[in-house]
């Protein structure tokens, strides 16, 4: 059976970032996950905090930290370090980040033609957050690619109040070579095509010829290559002579996939191990100490023994927490106490309004250990990170990535310090 200093459970942004940082600091790490998840659903940027009215991510963090139950209330002092650690890790890669805690939050266009606040974006999306300064926005769609409708987006954006926005908004669709002969077209298959230099050269020529004269900033579906993304983005900008940014549309998320690939490679490069596809089915404990977990296997189970365990299984969306009829909530690995709204008050009457159930999660102490209703830790060597934490509404507060990275960093740092002391 594999043995490790630390077993991380979950392969979303929090689990991956924590596992990588622990491995970088010399710990032996085994990451076990039931499946791949959040990175492949989201836009690949880093949402640190943007509750309504925030000027910057730092301002947003301060606003959220003032809320007693919010995860930032006990983590806000670590956000800067965590973000910088993440930025340093990705520096030089195709998913390197632009922007930081103090970058003003600006509205950037979404593929449905709404605006969302953003400050920290991967290089391929960064041009959407630069001051428009007289530039127009040209959305370029790809004919037959049904997951991004640029005319719809442009029409909605034109009807949206956008302070200091683009001078004008237009949309064009282009035919890319050979797509009419294909049976299947999704973001991933297009991105794979862009990785191929010969096809890419022809596609870039087709896109460049569709750009009318004028000062433009160009938004395209997020399909500009997987492994070769940096080159695709650069070559496209060079050919067009304008700045280009990607807009993530329906899943699968290509930018999120690139982030997953980058972090996974970093984990392997530092000697970490990863197994995806098997749920935790059993936990061994001695008092308040977890000694091993068992993951499902084709027969029997795989026993993973470790000194420390990191729970990064996500909330309801990630299935770290299951919600059942009768208002029952269950944390699926350790059976930890779940903090959620009172019975019967899970949902708002208006489906488009925030729902109380969104804040569901595990309450933790200052060391991120899970606690009971009295505030006493229920497990000593387990730390909870990411969207399994109680008290946030990451859709509305746009804090999911920041909480994931900060809690991951805190857990990794505290374990590294304890290992160094031991």
């Amino acid at each position: 059976m594999p043995r490790a200093d630390v077993v991380v459970i979950g392969a979303g942004l929090a689990g991956l970032a924590c596992a990588v940082e622990l491995a970088e600091r010399g710990a032996s790490v085994f990451l076990a996950a039931k499946g791949m998840a959040s990175t492949h659903w989201t836009h690949g940027g880093i949402d640190i905090a943007a509750p309504t009215g925030s000027r910057s991510a730092r301002d947003g963090v301060e606003r959220l930290a003032a809320m007693a139950a919010h995860p930032y209330s006990r983590m806000s002092g670590h956000v800067g370090d965590a973000i910088e650690a993440h930025r340093a890790r990705l520096a030089g890669s195709a998913v390197a980040l632009v922007g930081d805690l103090d970058t003003p939050l600006v509205p950037i266009p979404t593929p449905v033609g709404s605006l969302r606040p953003a400050a920290m974006l991967p290089t391929g999306q960064a041009a959407s957050a630069r001051a428009w300064a007289g530039d127009g926005l040209l959305l370029i769609g790809i004919r037959r690619f049904r997951d991004a409708w640029v005319e719809y987006a442009a029409r909605n954006l034109a009807a949206t109040e956008w302070p200091d926005g683009p001078r004008q908004i237009r949309a064009v669709e282009v035919d890319l070579p050979g797509l009419d002969r294909l049976n299947n077209l999704n973001a991933r298959s297009l991105a794979v095509l862009f990785d191929e230099p010969a096809w890419r050269a022809r596609a870039i020529r087709a896109i460049a010829s569709a750009v009318p004269a004028g000062p433009w900033r160009i938004g395209v579906p997020a399909v500009l290559g997987v492994a070769d993304h940096a080159a695709v983005h650069r070559e496209l900008e060079d050919a067009i002579g304008h700045r280009v940014f990607e807009m993530q549309s329906l899943p699968p998320s290509v930018p999120g996939g690139r982030l997953f690939d980058e972090l996974r490679a970093a984990l392997l490069a530092h000697g970490g191990r990863i197994q995806v596809g098997f749920d935790v089915v059993e936990v061994e404990r001695a008092g308040q100490t977890v000694t091993a977990i068992h993951t499902e296997a084709a027969s029997r189970t795989l026993r993973l023994a470790a000194d420390h365990f990191i729970l990064a299984t996500g909330g309801i969306a990630g299935e770290g927490i299951r919600a059942y009829r009768g208002h029952r909530l269950e944390e699926r690995v350790f059976g930890l106490p779940v903090v959620g709204p009172e019975d019967g008050s899970w949902f708002s009457d208006d489906p488009m309004q925030p729902h109380p159930i969104e804040s569901v999660g595990i309450a933790v102490d200052d060391r991120l250990r899970p606690i009971d209703a009295e505030g006493a830790p229920v497990l000593d060597n387990v730390q909870v990170i990411g969207s399994a934490l109680a008290g946030m509404r990451y859709l509305e507060q746009r804090c999911g990535d920041g909480v994931a990275l900060t809690s991951a960093h805190m857990a990794a740092q505290s374990l590294a310090e304890r290992r160094a002391a031991a």
Partner: protein
């Protein structure tokens, strides 16, 4: 594979209701990465599943599910626990049941028959396998690609060698279950790579095990992969009949092919609906050989007198191994051999997928799927590696043929290390088979 709830365990298609349409499976599918004809796991799996079953007439909305290679990567990536690959395989079986199968598919699935025909005339058969004209003819008449990875037949089967050695085939003197294992050699060892079986037995005996090789047939996996469930069930039932008694008596069943052992552990139940006590007992008793050796090492019982093998070696963990859910035991064992510098290929699939890469109409897909792996293996050779390692036979043959780099089972490396240790100490390692 993963059983997230009881209903899915009993009938994988039930698990498709859990699909949240997130498309993670689409991003990891090696076949849809290279072939536009395959819409990807989500479409042929959970989406198409709504149009299958009673009341829908046909066994499947279209043929595209037949392009699934069955690697199982989608099932492992799925965050919702949908048994996608298993559902696809059942859909293929329904198509086969309705529309029949080709002679080619029935022939290449019947490895026991091929071995019975090929081994006695191995000299001639192997000339034929290497002969371009014969292979061209085989492609034109049967649809077996002329460059499909086929291993040469052995001169004598492993089971014949075992008989000649008068090895144990039954529990005549009831040895201790803790120190006795049943070896499931599979077709690859029996008809093509008997040296691997010899090394496996030698390693097990060196570590204090008595080895029994009872009557056995092909595990049936090639039939399962080709949707020929009736034939697969016949094989499975005969194997269960032969193995269940050992399993119930507490003996472990050890295999050197992660494909066969996965069939015993999972596919008999997940695909063939063989969920009786015999199947469960055999599944619970079955071990991959590297898994067993790591377990032995955990207990401090593995002979770790490995002599140094100072070389780099690229290791490709096959898809079937990953579906075991046992981590990468070969990598842990490689770590015990001084000087051996094993690196995980970190590539999803070699493309072969059992018989998939042999088929004329699938060969190019299989090559494209494995191309990055072949490049990595060739690069490793440039950097000083003399061979690659992989736990499943058809993957080994595919990697060897397509990269030009000899590819061996991890057990071969470990046996060599033991042999060197014996040579260093002046002793010689008993030839056991």
């Amino acid at each position: 594979m993963t059983f997230h709830d009881a209903a899915a365990r009993d009938f994988p298609p039930f698990s498709t209701d859990a699909c949240i349409k997130c498309n993670v499976c689409t991003t990891v599918c090696p076949v849809s990465r290279v072939s536009d004809d395959f819409p990807g796991p989500k479409y042929v799996g959970p989406q198409a599943q709504r149009f299958r079953g009673p009341g829908h007439g046909s066994g499947a909305p279209d043929h595209s599910v037949d392009l699934c290679s069955g690697c199982g990567i989608c099932t492992r990536a799925c965050p919702a626990g949908v048994l996608i690959a298993e559902t696809n395989n059942r859909a293929r079986a329904a198509i086969v049941e309705e529309r029949g199968s080709s002679i080619r598919n029935r022939l290449i699935s019947d490895t026991d028959l091929l071995i019975r025909l090929g081994v006695p005339v191995s000299f001639l058969a192997n000339i034929g396998l290497k002969n371009r004209l014969a292979r061209w003819f085989g492609e034109k008449t049967l649809g077996i690609h002329r460059r499909g990875p086929l291993a040469p037949f052995a001169r004598r089967t492993f089971s014949a060698r075992w008989k000649r050695r008068r090895g144990l085939t039954s529990l005549a003197d009831a040895p201790d279950p803790a120190r006795t294992v049943v070896y499931f050699h599979g077709c690859a060892v029996n008809g093509f790579e008997p040296e691997l079986g010899r090394d496996a037995v030698a390693i097990l005996e060196r570590n204090g095990f008595t080895v029994i090789v009872p009557r056995q047939e092909c595990c049936g996996l090639p039939f399962i992969s080709n949707g020929l469930y009736d034939q697969a069930r016949t094989k499975a039932r005969r194997n269960l009949e032969s193995l269940a008694g050992f399993a119930r008596a507490g003996y472990r069943i050890v295999g050197t092919s992660t494909s066969c052992t996965h069939a015993l552990k999972a596919e008999y139940r997940e695909m063939l609906d063989l969920a009786d006590d015999d199947a469960t007992a055999v599944a619970d008793a079955t071990w991959d050989i590297c898994e067993l050796l790591v377990d032995l090492h955990d207990r401090g019982e593995l002979d770790t007198g490995f002599a140094p093998i100072p070389e780099p070696i690229p290791y490709h963990p096959p898809c079937q191994l990953k579906s075991h859910g046992i981590g990468l035991p070969a990598m842990e064992l490689f770590g015990l051999v001084p000087g051996l510098r094993a690196t995980d290929s970190d590539h999803d699939c070699c493309g072969a997928a059992g018989t998939y890469g042999l088929k004329a109409e699938r060969w190019q897909i299989a090559q494209d799927v494995g191309a990055p792996l072949f490049a990595k293996v060739r690069a490793a050779k440039q950097a000083g590696a003399s061979r690659a390692a992989c736990d499943s036979e058809t993957c080994r043959w595919q990697i060897e043929q397509s990269s030009g780099v000899p590819t061996v089972h991890p057990i071969t490396i470990l046996a060599e290390s033991y042999r060197r240790a014996d040579a260093d100490s002046g002793g010689s390692w008993r030839r056991v088979v």
